[in-house]
């Protein structure tokens, strides 16, 4: 039989060509009545337009969630969601949380044990005893 081929799918390298921001949606929930939503309400009036303009690739929804604490929910490309309750926070703090959610990917928080994570093999190769200068058969 002649040469056959194995089918795979090319792996994406986000950022090598185009960069896809991993945060695809941010939901801002506020309350007209609750005092804990005061900062969020100010944030929505003051800072949200600029934040949305500088991040056009994020779908931003603003909707009331009556009688509940204000919350920001982020939805990511990998399908996971992250929610941050911003009760009793000031405008700057809420902006920081929104930026935190925007900069995250949807992965669970885990400790980075190794300094580098790569799909490419090592450039100089892994040592083996068979190719050294002293080896001779």
């Amino acid at each position: 039989m002649p040469l056959q081929a194995l089918r795979t799918v090319a792996r994406s390298q986000n950022g090598v060509g185009a960069f896809i921001l991993q945060c695809k949606r941010l939901d801002f929930h506020y309350c007209d009545w609750a005092g804990s939503s005061k900062g969020m309400n100010s944030f929505l009036q003051s800072h949200l337009p600029a934040f949305a303009a500088s991040n056009p690739q994020i779908e931003i929804t603003v909707s009331p969630r009556p009688r509940k604490h204000p919350v920001i929910k982020g939805t990511y490309i990998n399908g996971r969601e992250k929610a941050v309750c911003v009760r009793n926070m000031e405008v700057k703090e809420i902006l920081a949380k929104a930026e935190l959610l925007r900069d995250a990917n949807g992965e669970k928080l885990r400790k980075a044990k190794k300094p580098v994570k790569s799909a490419n093999e090592s450039v100089r190769g892994i040592w083996d005893p068979f190719h050294g200068a002293n080896w001779s058969i």
């Binding site: 002649p2 040469l3 185009a18 896809i20 690739q57 005893p129």
Partner: protein
């Protein structure tokens, strides 16, 4: 020869001026005879988008029809979808590509059979463009790739599975059911039901139809699609080719993979039509070519030493000889043999294995890969010099290989 202005021809595929009478393909859900409840539910969902409708979206669409009865959202709603606008920006699409075309790309033919409102025509154009750019890249950069591996590489870059994974990576969600009330930023398709999923062999276009199941590579090059697979017409459940343009027949549904494939292809076609050839190529390079594919992992040799031996004979090299370079643990449970294949004094390839045979075969495979995966430095592709004298690039002829090894 005068250059073909495909973008001018493509103008007919651009969205109509909203005066096209929309064929009322009634959704099954309009059977729900509780009209008042449907109307209540359309009024129930009321959100005012941040962007107001501009006056020229004053509709020619019949307002009396509730949205649920339309097969896909009306084009004017595209400007009010935040999801769609976010998708446009996430993919860094050119601003010449309007939102209503992007919305159209997301409507599969199974959701809306009307060719003016679905992505089928754009998908045909886009599949050709994608196939062209991928194949020119592979052929110019890897001139010695065997045909089967070429098919596999093409599949890996722009095949249905690749396009499906790209759709997921782009954050495009699938709507549960198609309809006019669905968010225009969702991929809309009618899902294939299990009873419709029977694939029968249709007409492949071959003269020896009864042997079509045993088609070889040459036969695939001539009669099959860019991946070496049977064309879609040949695999419909009914056995008849789907007529593009029929607005009455709602054929069987589509799978997520098929709809994603159509969406990505339609998007490329739309970029080409609205923004031009160079923009389409740039889109391809940024999103498709930037993906990593290990071509060496695609090879599946059946008789590596034999193929190598035929290759050396053809090229006039000395016949290959396998020599043991190093070994350890010959009598143990896990021996390691490192074997090199030499043509005279030149080592063609090296391989390590747990047995002498294994090592020898791996060495031959490595040698063949070395041959097949040759890539000329500074290879040019034909589309680099397309489009006249803007870049002033001079065409350097690509290397054309004499062919595969015949065994």
């Amino acid at each position: 020869m005068k250059r073909l202005r495909l973008d001018r021809w493509g103008a007919q595929f651009l969205p109509p001026q909203y005066q096209v009478p929309r064929p009322r393909v009634l959704c099954p859900y309009q059977q729900a005879s509780h009209d008042h409840r449907i109307q209540h539910s359309t009024r129930f969902y009321r959100s005012t988008p941040a962007i107001r409708d501009t006056p020229d979206y004053e509709d020619s669409i019949d307002l009396a029809t509730p949205l649920e009865q339309l097969p896909s959202p009306p084009p004017k709603l595209a400007s009010s979808s935040a999801k769609l606008a976010a998708l446009h920006a996430r993919l860094s699409l050119p601003s010449k590509l309007p939102l209503h075309t992007l919305a159209r790309c997301l409507v599969d033919a199974s959701a809306d059979p009307s060719p003016d409102f679905n992505n089928s025509s754009l998908a045909i154009l886009g599949s050709e463009i994608l196939g062209y750019h991928t194949s020119e890249y592979l052929l110019c950069h890897y001139p010695r790739l065997p045909m089967t591996v070429l098919f596999a590489a093409q599949y890996a870059y722009v095949g249905p599975k690749a396009l499906r994974s790209m759709t997921l990576e782009w954050g495009v969600e699938v709507a549960a059911e198609p309809g006019g009330e669905v968010d225009p930023g969702l991929l809309q398709l009618k899902r294939l039901r299990p009873e419709e999923a029977v694939i029968q062999a249709g007409e492949t276009g071959r003269p020896n139809q009864q042997w079509a199941y045993r088609r070889g590579t040459s036969s695939r090059i001539v009669y099959d699609d860019q991946f070496g697979d049977l064309k879609k017409d040949a695999t419909t459940a009914s056995g008849n080719a789907m007529v593009v343009g029929s607005s009455t027949a709602q054929g069987p549904g589509a799978t997520d993979e098929e709809a994603s494939k159509n969406f990505v292809r339609a998007l490329v076609g739309a970029v080409y039509l609205h923004a031009g050839r160079a923009a389409a190529k740039r889109f391809f390079e940024q999103h498709f070519l930037s993906r990593q594919l290990e071509l060496s992992k695609l090879f599946d040799f059946k008789h590596a030493p034999r193929d190598l031996s035929r290759l050396c004979a053809r090229e006039g090299f000395e016949s290959p000889v396998a020599r043991l370079i190093s070994e350890t643990g010959r009598l143990s449970r896990h021996p390691v043999f490192v074997v090199g294949v030499y043509s005279g004094n030149d080592k063609l390839g090296e391989g390590a294995g747990a047995s002498l045979d294994e090592a020898r075969i791996r060495a031959a495979a490595a040698a063949l890969k070395g041959w097949y995966l040759y890539s000329p430095i500074d290879a040019m592709v034909p589309s680099d010099v397309e489009g006249g004298d803007k870049e002033k690039k001079k065409w350097e002829p690509a290397m054309i290989d004499i062919g595969e090894i015949i065994t």
